[in-house]
Symmetry: C2
Subunit: 688 residues, 2 copies
């Protein structure tokens, strides 16, 4: 094989793409202006030497944290130099491609003080924070407690004599743990601690706590801080996830954030007027994660699609591609149907995730607008939706990345694919910001309320739960079957949506009936946890339904002259988007087929025709796959992948990357004299 066969193969594959890649990119990012701005920020990062990724594969955690600190300070400077908005900052973090000690300064420290501090407190802390005269983190999780705030063991006891709080960690299980930025970088933290006055527990509240001296960065004597050690799969390697244990650490009374609860000089506690407004920030974090999954899964499928286009293995006479430039060569791996059927549905998922991320973010913005006018009607639904989608999307994001890596076969186990780093960055999202299993209870609780509403006031059911009305007439509902008569009926969006609606309605009512039969109460019950498996099922079913719905809607908008220009696409793009939308919907049904079959909604013949349609849709994407991943527009700097670079020169890059391995700087390995030579010579020389 000539050295440039790889590049030729990729270039040739690009000639067969049926649509304008640039147009598709504009559709994905909702307009050329966004695409250009994203590229601009990516370039800004790429040209900074400190963000170079060449040696990431062999940094120890110790060296990585130092690098993380250097990257953090440069990032802080860039933020001040460029006055970045939130979107640009997100793009910058996307380009940097690793979480850094400083990210919670802007991501949590500043927002929490802004949200929960008084005007006076905001004025005191925010300007110096914005100028990085202080750097902060957010300390909630403890060694012994994660999400259960009411059982936190860190205490803040009011010392009336000195008008101070005494922050204390009674035992080491009270130590704050996992706190990003705490291990090395931060001077301050906002700390969640249970507030005590005169022995009375007022529950968890938030305090601004100085950690390290601003003179020499040494931790205060009453604060023990450190790094919690490396993470799974080398993930978050540059992050100084840290611990902090307080021993009667004194801070002024004014360091309690008092926008809501207040404590007076006399130690009088005043309750906040109303609680639960903090849901907004959880919705935001989860909505951002959905968008991130679109970016992550699109990166993973980009790398895999490009590499498998240039990887050839076995001289298989089944070469799919009559137009193959080199029929004498081995088959391009991407031409194997098994490979296509694993890979192309994930490309469709990535497209669907782009759509879902946009809709979810719009829902969040609309919610915030409503709340600011005092209307919190939508809060419950948006909160449930963001929970369900966070759970489902981060699950498929992590699983899809690992599946993409495995699709690359042997070389997929090299660090130089770039996908191991990606997976290690994604996978904690399955357990943070609400564990993906626990979180599904939110949507289930919401739907149980909607079932009650459907039964009593059907007109009040919200649009996304309207499918519940289908099941009000139980006998009629149970007789309902799928309308697919001919295989091509599967390609009708209304038939796809009807299937998802039927499934969701059935699962929601089954859950409701079971909960009622057991006399369970979702709020607080002896038996609620018995139903959590079913909560998981209905929540993921609802998430899939909305994903399918939103992608169908996005593709409809793409060809709607009345839609915003940024959401439209050329006819050639729309044609492929329709295939992707169909594949996404039908593949999702196929992957969860038992839910559609076990009550008789689908017949055996419909199952067969569904599987056949999925295969046919996959096959129809063969020539467009490379264009579909190019359209994600991920620059080589971001991918950081020897196998997935845009020129396709996979083998050459893998070879060259290996040459840079520090071990290869020596002709004879470290340890030869000490270990190898004595062993070889133990029984005398071998004469060749």
């Amino acid at each position: 094989m000539a050295e440039s066969q790889n590049k030729k193969d990729l270039a040739h594959a690009r000639t067969k793409v049926s649509f304008n890649v640039k147009d598709m990119t504009n559709f994905l990012y909702q307009g050329a202006a966004n695409v250009d701005q994203r590229r601009y920020i990516m370039d800004l990062v790429a040209k900074e030497p400190i963000f170079n990724k060449d040696d990431w594969g062999w940094l120890s955690h110790t060296d990585a944290v130092k690098r993380g600190i250097a990257m953090s300070t440069r990032l802080a400077e860039l933020m001040m130099e460029h006055d970045l908005n939130d979107l640009d900052f997100a793009t910058m973090m996307e380009a940097i491609d690793d979480t850094l000690p400083i990210v919670l300064h802007n991501g949590a420290f500043i927002p929490v003080i802004t949200a929960q501090g008084t005007e006076e407190q905001i004025e005191k802390w925010i300007p110096p924070a914005q100028k990085f005269q202080i750097i902060g983190c957010y300390a909630q999780t403890e060694l012994g407690h994660g999400s259960n705030l009411s059982c936190l063991e860190t205490t803040a006891t009011f010392i009336k004599e000195t008008d101070e709080w005494e922050i204390n960690s009674t035992t080491f299980t009270a130590a704050k743990w996992w706190i990003g930025g705490l291990g090395a970088l931060c001077t301050h933290a906002v700390v969640q601690a249970r507030l005590f006055i005169d022995g009375k527990d007022y529950g968890a509240h938030v305090f601004v706590v100085p950690l390290r001296s601003l003179d020499d960065h040494k931790p205060f004597p009453t604060v023990q801080v450190g790094d919690i050690g490396p993470k799974a799969y080398n993930g978050f390697n540059k992050m100084d996830n840290g611990f902090a244990r307080f021993t009667k650490h004194r801070i002024p009374r004014e360091n309690m954030l008092m926008r809501f609860s207040k404590v007076s000089r006399d130690g009088v506690f005043t309750k906040p007027p109303h609680a639960k407004l903090s849901y907004g920030s959880m919705v935001l974090l989860r909505s951002v994660l959905i968008k991130q999954m679109a970016l992550y899964l699109s990166r993973a499928t980009t790398v895999t699609t490009r590499y498998l286009t240039v990887r050839r293995q076995f001289n298989n006479p089944t070469t799919r591609n009559d137009a193959d430039l080199n029929p004498g060569l081995e088959t391009q791996v991407i031409n194997y149907p098994m490979v296509q059927n694993r890979l192309f549905p994930m490309i469709a998922q990535a497209y669907a995730l782009f759509a879902a991320g946009s809709v979810m973010m719009e829902m969040y913005i609309n919610l915030m607008t409503s709340i600011s006018t005092g209307n919190i009607d939508a809060l419950a639904e948006v909160h449930a939706m963001s929970s369900a989608l966070k759970s489902y999307c981060t699950t498929i994001g992590a699983a899809g990345t690992e599946e993409s890596r495995k699709l690359m076969g042997g070389h997929g186990f090299s660090y130089f694919t770039g996908l191991a780093h990606l997976f290690a960055s994604i996978v904690p999202s399955n357990t943070y910001e609400g564990d993906n299993y626990v979180l599904t209870q939110q949507m289930a609780r919401y739907l149980l309320k909607e079932v009650k509403t459907a039964r009593t006031s059907p007109e009040k059911v919200t649009p996304y739960s309207r499918y519940l009305l289908l099941a009000l007439n139980k006998p009629a509902f149970e007789r309902t079957t799928c309308a697919v008569a001919r295989p091509e009926d599967w390609l009708k969006p209304e038939i796809q949506l009807a299937a998802f609606e039927h499934r969701c309605a059935r699962l929601a009512f089954e859950l409701s009936d079971a909960v009622d039969a057991a006399g369970a109460d979702p709020a607080n019950s002896k038996t609620w946890s018995d139903h959590n498996i079913e909560c998981y099922r209905i929540s993921h079913a609802h998430a899939q339904y909305t994903m399918v719905l939103w992608f169908i809607k996005a593709v409809k908008d793409a060809q709607d002259p009345a839609a915003d220009e940024e959401r439209r696409a050329e006819p050639a793009s729309v044609k492929v988007l329709e295939i992707l939308s169909n594949l996404h919907a039908l593949h999702t049904i196929q992957t969860n087929l038992v839910d559609f079959v076990e009550d008789g909604y689908l017949s055996p013949a419909q199952c067969l025709s569904l599987r056949a349609q999925v295969k046919a849709l996959v096959a129809s994407l063969a020539d467009d796959a490379i264009g579909l991943v190019d359209a994600f527009d991920h620059p080589d700097f971001l991918l950081n992948s020897a196998l997935g670079a845009s020129d396709g020169d996979a083998y050459k890059r893998l070879w060259e990357k290996a040459q840079t391995e520090p071990l290869n700087k020596r002709e004879v390995c470290d340890g030869y004299e000490e270990y190898i030579r004595p062993l070889l010579k133990k029984h005398g020389d071998f004469k060749m």
Copy 2:
């Protein structure tokens, strides 16, 4: 929470176990002698300082390879000191718990020379290899080629003038790649290269190739060697997976292994009498992997079960356990049904894997005995079976390990769970020794032949494929439905097996019909790859069927007075084993439910009762879970897990492990003066 609550919780959980843990351990390892010997070898490794694992979390690849070399040489010494048999060597590697540069010396270099060398060659190479005067590796894979031997680019050209071979890598894509031991340690390699005489290609053959000088370990001038760089997830970090590129590297003619093919002094090539006897070694490698998956998944579930027994979160009034010592504390996480329903089926899978590993190994041994008497009848079936089971078992092994890690929630992302290292060690097994997807074609091809046999000579169908006979009468077969009438019927092994047999028979005949309809030929066809998705389905279905069958059989043997004593278990153990066997069978059905439903074999009511049975079986294991994982008998040295140690002191160990993090040796982090201080002071001091 007092410091020792963790330990109390674990100790208390152990008081409720219904069976004798030691008896269960003896059952799993087939006799107390094996259990003792395993512990003996584990202790031998544990007391060697070089095998200490405390700093593994922060070794860079550079340091890790040096460690790997030091561990390799000590391992070599131990092998010489103790004269270990294969089983003990396997246990030693299990205890060491990381692949090492030296493992392919005994694992491939010596076996390949022994199998393919002449008596003279064996006498020349094996004694010095056994004394480690030379150390070898096995070089097959290249940058551009993995499994397709016939397209290897490395050539061995006969130079008649000097009676030598010239080993050559024309381009860098011909470089040997991924070769364990090659990067730093080995002096020799057995190299697969295409043999050329007078311009004629005789295909891939094996050559003993010196790589490095025995005087100073420098690579020969005609050999370029090096390390290929780090691997995904820090996996194989101590292994010097290497590359080698040969530039007209000369070796004597006698270095070609000539037991089968031969080349004379005159350059005359003689073909081997018969090929394909190398299948045996593939069967062995795959069979060993199944046993390994039992050990790996049992480790993962041990860690998770112990940690979730001591982790308490939320003061949930649904505390399952009336006998809870501390009803006032939060609920132990293991008491949540959702957690149990994710975790306990994996414990059952681990038990089933123990059984499958044993049977597969027996099949291999029986096969080798037969082959040694000239009977190769069983080769095709055993080869197909080992392929199907390798694919299925390594898939659930890797997925189950990651699922176990995720079950631990936030702390599951710490390196100190031990499970990230475990996953990184397991997951390449999904793509090596035959990619898990490609490999399923072996079983499918075998079953297609068996379908033909069933149709023509039903009496000749082998026992494991006898289910095919069920489908010979198509109309009758299509009318067959599951015999479950009452929920407890699901607990009958014959009903479980009937369901798996029905599913396998249906899928096999569907595949056969589809292949026939398309005029496809599994051996070499234009359309064969169109059926590979269905190959994957039937192969995994068959693997699941045999796993269920073998576990049922093992539990039956456990209570059979006529069975070997080593295979028996006490009645209390048998009772729990029966639950595990039922759970394994029914959970496997539930996970693949659509295959049992889509043709009408199961009714909607049976689906419901199946799900209910799985839940009930899971719940019935609540008190025994800790005993079931203790019975795996994995010492703390092996688990290397702060969260899963045998005393349950999870928080304390996590705290203590963090204190050992090298970053914590400094009060102020590296990088403060250089990066942090200038940023903090840029806009002047902040006055607190």
